[in-house]
Symmetry: C2
Subunit: 326 residues, 2 copies
DNA sequence: CTGAAAGCGCTTACAG
DNA sequence: CTGAAAGCGCTTACAG
């Protein structure tokens, strides 16, 4: 691998200056005569010129890279969000640096610091807990940030949230249509963040009649919980899980314990992850518009003036609630 | 946000030169007197100095960033691989640029080109089809590349694969232990790549006695296939799915069609994704060592001399094959 | 052990 | 419309 081809090489071959090469490669900011432009393009092509984004970034102070710090891409809720964020960024010609913080505030800070060193043009934070306000850190460095899913909500940093209230209310109303009066809510270990809010909203919507269950936000823990409830004879007839992960765990736990879904226990999730469409039985969800949320967050990051109407959850009737197969 | 703090600022405050600041920040390559070092560190701390990796990269020709091009992070097999790759890279202090090619050879080429422009230190390719040899493109640019999961296998670019043969054989042997004689194999639409090889190996292992089924590598298609088979009365008593995605689709399709798993149809997957542990019923898999594969690929990328013993699949007995619950 | 200075490959005022 | 040259913030020979 010989020395890399630079603007100087292209300029020489095209019989022009490096400035003009730059103007051609970037379509601006100065106009270039059509003939000159053609010569430059030809020279670049012939030499196999590949612009060095690093040099460009140093000079222009913009890297074209956005950093996404997220809790855990293996959780399909975050994974789907990440996927849609990448797609939205690609639509704007941006590259994505990704870092999983794995529910650790320290690792989250570390990642943000590394991303700032890498001079990302912006930071997207999709975190499980809003432990400390990492966006403030970014802002102090002059880097715009947007929270997606969860944030301190102090109005300083834009925040795109799920429609927590709408999702819970849709789920409760739908289960009532199926005749359920005593609905259980499977919350997380503590009521923090947007998912914590879902518990509050549930208790409002249920008018104090609901049972409260708790497990970690994981399939394994929700699965174990249902098995335990089965041995104790304390299985509710309907459960709304704060997250799809928990709902899926309820499904596998119910299966293991021999509890028919939805016959013995109806289940509804509140995320609307892609996974929910292919469980056994298929999972009814009050689904969040994950793609819209991701796009909105990206648009907001790239242009803070973007309007961002509140997200709205939609009920997706599948089989776990008692609806018939489509 | 005022002007950014540079090595020059730190040097001035520490009463030394920028060279020394660099030596201190990088722990080399020249030694620095302890007292000087302390002054530099103090100055950097006081000024809130944040090294500019872009400038560093331009000069040192190394960015500390690795690009991962993968088929689709929403597929848990690729998603888990990506997660483990990131973890392995983080262990080496590297950042990860990620791009989903989504089964499009063109988008894959585009991503590789963008990553090369961004001057990644290396490229990891986890692709569904080895359409064209993008690693050759990287190598031509002087950037090392490693294929993970699938590659042209011409020996030019290192390749870390799953243990396809081992997985299929374990699955067949185990289903035989359960008394199954006629085992069906759910292959992809065509037999390409490593997953395509699984079909060949199956036919060897089954001694020509197996039924061949086909569907896209997705939950939805496998689900639809099983429902159709149910209406036709052509459901096999045991099926090995080429991918966990398909196996999970079989589970949801069987549930929808009222076919008990494993009673009416036993199911085994060949990936060992995290998802397989929490299906209903839980999915027995001949699992691939995804974390080891990811780590190996990263080690190989960073140091081509790393030994890489062949991966070995392990049978994980769960309920879908007919084994009792743990 | 330390300093002065060149140079990585671009972009962008500035001057023509 | 085009060119000559400065400068982005580092690292690294080179000289002391």
């Amino acid at each position: 691998m010989s020395r890399q081809i630079t603007v100087a090489d292209v300029a020489r071959r095209a019989g022009t200056s490096t400035a003009v090469v730059s103007y051609v490669m970037n379509n601006g900011p100065r106009p270039v005569a059509a003939a000159t432009r053609a010569r430059v393009l030809a020279a670049a092509e012939e030499l196999g010129y590949r612009p060095n984004r690093i040099a460009r970034a140093l000079r222009s102070r913009t890297t074209g890279v956005v950093g996404l710090v997220l809790a855990d891409a293996l959780n399909p809720y975050f994974g789907a969000l990440a996927r849609h964020v990448e797609q939205a960024l690609a639509g704007h010609g941006r590259l994505m640096l990704i870092g999983n913080a794995g529910y650790s505030a320290e690792r989250q800070r570390h990642l943000v610091e590394r991303f700032l060193e890498a001079r990302v043009d912006g930071l997207l934070i999709t975190s499980a807990d809003a432990g400390d306000d990492v966006a403030a850190h970014a802002r102090a460095a002059g880097v715009p940030a947007v929270y997606l899913h969860n944030g301190p909500g102090d109005g300083e940093t834009p925040l795109v949230t799920a429609d927590n209230a709408g999702a819970v209310r849709e789920a409760v109303a739908h289960l009532r249509e199926h005749g359920h009066r005593d609905i259980a809510f499977l919350a997380g270990p503590q009521d923090i963040g947007p998912v914590g809010r879902r518990r509050e909203i549930f208790q409002e919507a249920a008018g104090g009649r609901g049972t409260l269950l708790r497990s970690a936000y994981s399939r394994a823990e929700a699965d174990a919980l249902i098995r335990r409830l089965a041995t104790e004879g304390a299985v509710p007839s309907a459960v709304i899980a704060a997250t799809d992960e928990q709902a899926i765990g309820v499904l596998s736990g119910a299966c293991a314990a021999g509890l028919p879904v939805p016959g013995r226990i109806a289940v509804v999730g509140l995320d609307g992850t892609p996974d929910s469409a292919h469980t056994a039985p298929t999972l009814t969800v009050a689904g969040q518009p994950l793609e819209t949320m991701a796009r909105q967050a990206v648009d907001l990051l790239l242009d803070p003036a973007t309007p961002h109407p509140p997200t709205v959850a939609t009920l997706v009737r599948r089989r776990s609630c008692g609806c018939a197969d489509r």
